[in-house]
């Protein structure tokens, strides 16, 4: 078996605050294989964006306190992103791993045309030949279904939200990265535009074969595109599963809570409900399992010790919950939406 393109091992990230360190990411581990798509889901404040920013070494206020981020290049050589020299890290970003941020307007310099943004990015990464950059930009804009002639001359504000998101995707692919991280790529877009972006991402992934990490609070994006899903809560990975296991056979009560919190348009509405309470204070985390104050299945043991990630059902599925069998009894194994099964 070839090495995964990314292997994250026990990664922890903290923010200093006046009250002490806020532990935004705690000992998170996962792998992404070549061409695979991983979705990281959770509420705001669960640590997903902090994690993504740490992966590409862009943390500013936050400190990565431990762990390894092992990246394996196409030639098979493996390196820890955390120990790269600043120059090397700069080359690695975009050339090997690109990131597309939410709210595409902020990703652009407002006084540069789209062509200048392409050129800027290309020059920063050593592509000196403007003609070559232009050819590549045209090819990529074509790939994301934009009219290159018109778009290259435009300023960011002249494009619609959906078009800007397409340009962001095109710029991300400029140097043929092996891994692309998307942070909320469809948030704040209209339904038909969301659909177009999702279809585009699926299509690009198939054509170009890059691996993908999606960071999103939007479960439907994970349902659309992910091969595997990682649920985060209070900085921890609390469940890791294949997309169908996570959606139809979740074993962590928080995953169940998230799934029940999102109503559907098609199919039965089922028993939809919010998760009671709010996420914990990351400076003063609750004792034991951090989810216990909100968990409907809590028992005394949950308050004493923080549970480890333990395998459930299959070797590819694990959950950080001592009550996972009780969850399994509730939601069963049928391939139906959780809200429907709990109705």
């Amino acid at each position: 078996m070839t090495a995964p393109v990314l292997a994250v091992d026990d990664l922890s990230v903290e923010y200093p605050t006046r009250r002490g360190p806020a532990r935004a990411v705690r000992e998170v581990s996962f792998t992404v294989s070549r061409g695979e798509t991983l979705a990281i889901i959770g509420e705001s404040g669960s640590g997903k964006t902090t994690l993504a920013v740490a992966l590409i070494g862009l943390s500013r206020a936050a400190h990565v306190t431990s762990g390894r981020i092992l990246y394996t290049a196409a030639d098979g050589s493996t390196e820890d992103v955390r120990t790269m020299e600043p120059d090397e890290l700069r080359r690695w970003r975009w050339r090997e791993c690109a990131m597309v941020f939410q709210a595409a307007l902020n990703s652009f310099n407002p006084v540069l045309t789209i062509w200048d943004q392409f050129l800027d990015t290309a020059r920063a990464h050593g592509m000196r030949d403007a003609r070559q950059v232009r050819d590549r930009a045209r090819e990529l804009l074509d790939l994301v279904h934009l009219d290159a002639g018109r778009v290259l001359r435009a300023y960011p504000h002249e494009l619609s939200g959906g078009m800007r998101q397409r340009v962001c995707i095109a710029v991300a692919l400029l140097l043929r990265p092996q891994l692309v991280i998307f942070d909320e790529p469809t948030t704040a877009l209209d339904i038909l535009t969301q659909r177009a972006i999702i279809d585009l991402l699926r299509d690009l992934r198939a054509k170009l074969g890059f691996a993908t990490i999606f960071i999103s609070h939007d479960l439907s994006l994970a349902a659309e595109l992910a091969d595997r899903v990682l649920t985060m809560y209070a900085g921890r990975a609390v469940e890791r599963a294949s997309v169908s296991d996570l959606f139809y056979r979740p074993r962590h009560p928080y995953s169940v809570g998230l799934l029940r919190a999102v109503p559907r348009v098609s199919g039965a509405l089922g028993s939809v409900a919010s998760i009671p309470g709010s996420p914990p204070d990351l400076v003063r985390l609750p004792h034991g399992c951090t989810y216990h104050p909100r968990c409907p299945l809590v028992i005394d043991a949950c308050k004493r010790e923080e549970p480890a990630l333990i395998p459930v059902d299959t070797p590819e599925h694990d959950a950080r919950c001592i009550r996972w069998k009780a969850v399994a009894e509730l939601v069963g194994t049928e391939r139906r939406a959780v809200a429907e099964k709990l109705a």
């Binding site: 509420e43 705001s44 279904h145 619609s160 469809t186 209209d190 339904i191 038909l192 969301q194 659909r195 177009a196 999702i198 609070h217 939007d218 479960l219 439907s220 994006l221 994970a222 349902a223 659309e224 997309v243 169908s244 959606f247 809570g257 998230l258 799934l259 919190a261 999102v262 109503p263 559907r264 348009v265 098609s266 199919g267 509405l269 939809v272 409900a273 919010s274 998760i275 009671p276 709010s278 391939r335 939406a337």
Partner: protein, 334 residues
Amino acid sequence: MTLLALERATRRFGTGAAAITAVDDVSLAVDRGEALCIVGESGCGKTTTGKMLAGLLRPSAGRLLFEGQDVWGGPRELFARFRRSVQLVHQDPYASLNPTRTVLQTLETPILRHRTRDRRVARATALELLEMVGLTPAPDMAAKYPHQLSGGQRQRVAIARALTVEPRAIVADEAVSMVDVSIRISLLDLLHGLATEFGVATVLITHDLAVARYFGREGRVAVMYLGRVVELAATEALVEDPAHPYTAALVGAVPEADPEITRGKTRVKLRSAEAPSLSALPSGCSFHPRCPLMEPGLCDVQVPELLPLPGTRDVACHVAVRERTPAAELLGAR
């Protein structure tokens, strides 16, 4: 009984060549205790429609009726009564609450202005409202400032504030889109309960079809496109068998939190991906440049009226009305 209604309401912004018509000839009525949803994409006029319903924008043409009376053409007393009776809850609970006032101060002021002069009574009423919107223990919550509350809690304060004047109707514009997914349902339940338990008519404006389906599950949904209502139907009929081709496209396109359903959806293939601009609206039916059912000579010439189809629905589509069949069936998207 109809509580609040827009009658052929149009709203234009700007003048001369720069003028745009944000809402064009919209008629919508809300009954006492009804939960109505208005859905649509950005720029469809849903917020302008909500502001007209709440009396914050005066229609350029057409009327706003409250208990059958013309709000803008009637006496001052009627307008004052209407103002108290219809409240708006905004999208952004971070911007809609005064950061220098405690929750109690925020709630007390309108109570002292409109309901009582007795501070003790006002305070008790404020605490009751906090209980009602699920902010407990109420005395603790009352002492807090907005920055000490989460987004969801702030939105509950905003709802409690709307309730201080005992309104008959609430217009909630994207009231849950800025709070975390995990708690949206509880806020929708709170708003829904106001309609069903206390008879407060509630109009929820949202871009999220799933939110509309959940909130309007016993009621109706109006779908807007480029300033017009294109479909008005009982919610389940609307999502199961959309009558307008635009609604069918939305229902087919919306990503769902269920891998099998969402990956196996029947899509409606539109003829164009880009929505026209409000400043250069297409002739005839404004959906015709994108519509797969478009018939030249009809759809690009004549503006379709909102007309009834069999079942509890109205649709503004020449083809669906002529065939007496929902567009979803004509498109084989069912």
